[in-house]
Amino acid sequence: MKTIRIGSGAGYSGDRIEPAVELAEKGEIDYLVFECLAERTIALAQQAKMKNPNAGFDPLLEPRMRAVLATCKAKGIKIVTNMGAANPLAGARKTAEIAKSLGLTGLKIAAVGGDDVIEAIRETPWPLVESGGSTTDLGNRIVSANAYVGTASLVEALASGADVVITGRAADPALFMAPLIHEFGWAMDDWDKLGKGTVVGHMLECAGQVTGGYFADPGVKDVENLARLGFPIGEVSEDGTLIVTKVPGSGGKVTAQTAKEQLLYELHDPKNYFQPDVVADFSEVEIEEIGPDRVRVTGGTGHPKTATLKVSVGYVDSYIGEGQISYAGPGAVARGKLALEIVKERLALMQVKTTELRFDLIGVDALHGPRLSAASEPYEVRARVTGRTDTLAEAVRIGNEVETLYTNGPAGGGGAFKSAREIVAVQSVLLPRDKVAGTVQIVEA
């Protein structure tokens, strides 16, 4: 039975780069996939593109491509990535430029677009899935709208002979499933295979999270050599069976436990994992260790796809101002609490206009609130005040009030920090499929 090997070279935009180089050099892989696009990233990229038409792709596209392009070309490894973000064509042109500077020729780079649906979203009001209300409520604060598209255009790009495929908002598992459909010729209504392909993508898309990253709990769940964590390789057979493994000698581990944590990561109803090409069903998935750092994943399936695609709508939500300051030694908690009370009173006195405020003592109860936090006195605490405002100028005032604790607050406050930032948030709507049309453009290098 035909088998292909897919390496997962990034689990998020800022991920380590050298594990991807290791995969390209030693992983004996056929494809190298980089998943780099979080929910909000594309909205920020869209803002960058509005300022500069040649920007809007992932800021780490250049170092990543520089690191792997020559090896991938020499070994015939195809690259698939969503590092195109809001501007796949500019990303493809940049990649061609990098190829040229490395002395590589005959490289075919595909820019896959069509996920940008901001015109359709602006045309008419669409209900917001999570918060209720409609896109009209977001008014002119909308900065981006991108549909989670499936594999169709990615497969088309691969079929046209592309060595590198650069897209924007595609469903993360689609980046991994496109090579499977291209190589194995799976039908787009073979729901069982597409369900299995989704499991493959889901297991690999967070890179190190299946090879021992984000797993260690010393004494309970130990992992060796996390500083040199190896990223995963998926060995996929034509029947959809997946074996997860990694480069021998790299750090981390692949076990049934690491695989199970990733299987359930960001999963809701296991029977209904909504994807653009299929509704995948993870409920009968089985995970089995078949050798050192080798785990077999079987039993995924799927059901017919839905009539709509999920769209992430990016919008300017608000501004957040923040300030922090530390206290240590005897009475640190009491002084930290006093600091928070002072800032609370100051924000009221100075009439800082906020729509939401939050007061935390880091080291005491910042993560889970007072009810779940232990009562014992820590050596040090950090007071943190954050507030939501309608303007940046108001947000600035929050951190300022924390900073003034230096000369006006409790004894021994140190390391004050402040920030104020614009918040671009996302909401989801469901869009009929006929509003979305994929595009493939080829750039030759």
Partner: protein, 104 residues
């Protein structure tokens, strides 16, 4: 005893919804987890944090439970004021849950 002795866990996030897996180290303990770690208990445990519902899904083939908790992430990961905006540390809190001793 604590849940941490029987199970491991990871939190995921989508918008304002958090999901926490509870995976038995030993498949023999799966039924015990099913009995002890109910959606109601998780909802009570996270009172003040989970503002919405807790739904539990069962995955017996991998000896795991999946808790899906709505209205949990401060209005959504992308706009939350929380230090841990993704709620990633919630799994560690849940592993501190008390489980009655002495069975299986």
């Amino acid at each position: 005893m604590k849940l941490r002795a029987l199970a491991h866990s990871r939190t995921g996030d989508k918008g304002n919804t958090s999901n926490i897996s509870v995976i038995a180290f030993d498949p023999a303990n799966y039924e015990r987890l099913r009995r002890e770690v109910t959606a109601e208990r998780v909802k009570t445990y996270f009172a003040g944090i989970v503002k919405g519902d807790v739904v539990r899904y069962e995955l017996p083939k991998v000896s795991a439970l999946n808790f899906v908790m709505t209205e949990t992430l401060g209005g959504g990961v992308t706009r939350s004021l929380a230090l841990d905006m993704h709620g990633k540390s919630l799994s560690s809190a849940l592993l501190d849950l008390d489980i009655p001793e002495g069975e299986e």
